[in-house]
Symmetry: C2
Subunit: 297 residues, 2 copies
């Protein structure tokens, strides 16, 4: 039965990849897409599986990545220990995506959903979080409300929203968050795999509804060079989080993951300026106060 649910979840993940890809293409019809199918099989048979990486580069979406993978084999002992296993074999599948729009009025978004299995144990993890660059508070509320609608029937909104607020934090920047949060969960199961797969599948399908309406609303809004400058500096903080703090990035790189697929999360362009601060009284200065935990829904 476990194998059946694994196959079902793996299939769902790929469908989700296509649904998100289609939506991106619908909004940005001329977008350039590079699709790379890679496999991690080695001669010794210790590593199996592979993935589909889709890299986007367009007018609305300056750069984006929507990746899936299904990998299995002998695992790094440290990884097995981390997830509470004893044998050295694992199986995992998931989707991971990041979208960096060009227009600073449109927020950056990240999401991922994954299932990991070791022996007869299995876990789920994932989440979605938004990184806006302009204080369109209604968009923040919309994003959080959509995920609240998705999670509340299962009783997870409050706890997983809090986990997100605690995770996507630049500790070295006085605990400023990289964005305005969303939800995050890890190492999750109820023990009932059928129920868990159904729930994660259900939740994950809210992604398109949580994000693309904001894109469609904001993508043609005028913006100034100051708006862009603020966005590029915040993208710099995004890079700081991903390279200094993100466990997924570190694990991926340490376990010899496919570097280009992992670092697809980095923005096409970013800026760093000594003691950067937006102009006093600007919308950007106002935005800074939103990068801390708040109740948005």
């Amino acid at each position: 039965m476990l194998d059946l649910h694994k196959a079902y979840f793996a299939d769902h993940v790929k469908k989700l990849q296509d649904q998100i890809t289609n939506k991106i293409r619908e909004i940005d019809p001329e977008i350039e897409i590079i699709e790379d199918c890679w496999n991690r099989e080695d001669a010794a048979g210790n590593e199996g599986g592979g993935g589909i990486t889709r890299a986007f580069s367009g007018e609305v979406f300056e750069n984006a990545g929507v990746n899936t993978s299904l990998v299995y084999g002998k695992a790094d002992p440290e990884f097995i220990k981390r997830i509470g296993g004893t044998k050295d074999e694992f199986w995992a599948t998931g989707i991971s995506l990041i979208i960096h729009p060009k227009n600073p009025k449109v927020p950056t978004v990240h999401a991922n959903f994954r299932m990991i299995q070791v022996e007869e144990k299995f876990w789920f993890g994932g989440g979605a979080d938004l990184t806006p660059f302009y204080p369109h508070v209604e968009d923040f509320k919309f994003f959080h409300q959509t995920w609240k609608d998705a999670l509340e029937p299962y009783g997870h909104y409050e706890a997983w929203k809090k986990k997100c607020d605690e995770y996507f934090v630049n500790k070295h920047r006085n605990n400023e968050m990289r964005g305005i949060g969303g939800f995050f969960f890890d190492h999750f199961n109820t023990g009932d795999i059928e129920k868990d797969v159904a729930m994660i599948q259900d939740i994950s399908t809210y992604f398109n509804d949580s994000y693309f309406p904001i894109v469609e609303k904001r993508k043609d809004e005028a913006y100034t060079s100051e708006d862009e400058d603020f966005q590029l500096h915040r993208r710099g903080r995004y890079v700081e989080f991903n390279l200094l703090h993100d466990r997924g990035t570190h694990f991926g790189l340490q376990s010899n993951g496919r570097v280009d697929s992992i670092l697809i999360s980095l923005p096409a362009r970013c800026k760093y300026t000594y003691r950067y601060a937006p102009a006093a009284g600007s919308a950007h200065e106002q935005m800074l106060k939103y990068y801390y935990p708040q109740n948005w829904a």
Copy 2:
């Protein structure tokens, strides 16, 4: 006697900061300079000292930082362990600098020289390394030859050049170096503090001669948008090294160092592109093969 040598080295470090600052100003007369003097004294008296951060932003030098600090007090137990001490007090002074020129024909450079003391023990560390973006091989030879001239009389060139090749490496990028090396040393002493201070002082004074002649030679060279694109992507790799691998950056952030002074090392602008590769047959493609250990002098 130890105190006398410490004071002498601390004084040297500040003089070096001024010499390098003067040279930057001479080449880029309109450059904007922000000087921040900071102190780390706390109410409990556990932390003392401070530093002088100089941040530059100009036409020739897009962004640069030339920092000194002299800090002492109760140290993080992990830090004390790392440097082999037993008591929980330390003293340290040093200069750390990074220069990111705007013209891609001019290499980026980094250098630092530091002295650490715990009880009656003391150590030195530091080095200098070059990150060029164009295959001007004669410049690489010039940089390495200058440091060879500085280090060879003391018998350190070969070993410290090798340490540099091993340190400034993006392990996650198939061991590509962030530049073409230079020299690097850590945890060094001969036991004779007078001799050691004199040597580090002597070596460090070669910095201006190792770098600025290259700047003066290349700063007005024409460059293309492809040259700049390659530079901005290599600056992206620079950020990857500094945030993923650099022990100094990690230690600084973990020990609640002054964030703006530490991350002054990041370039003003950088780029990331999925599977970025320079054009086949271009000078940039040729440059890629130089980012691996080679004998330049």
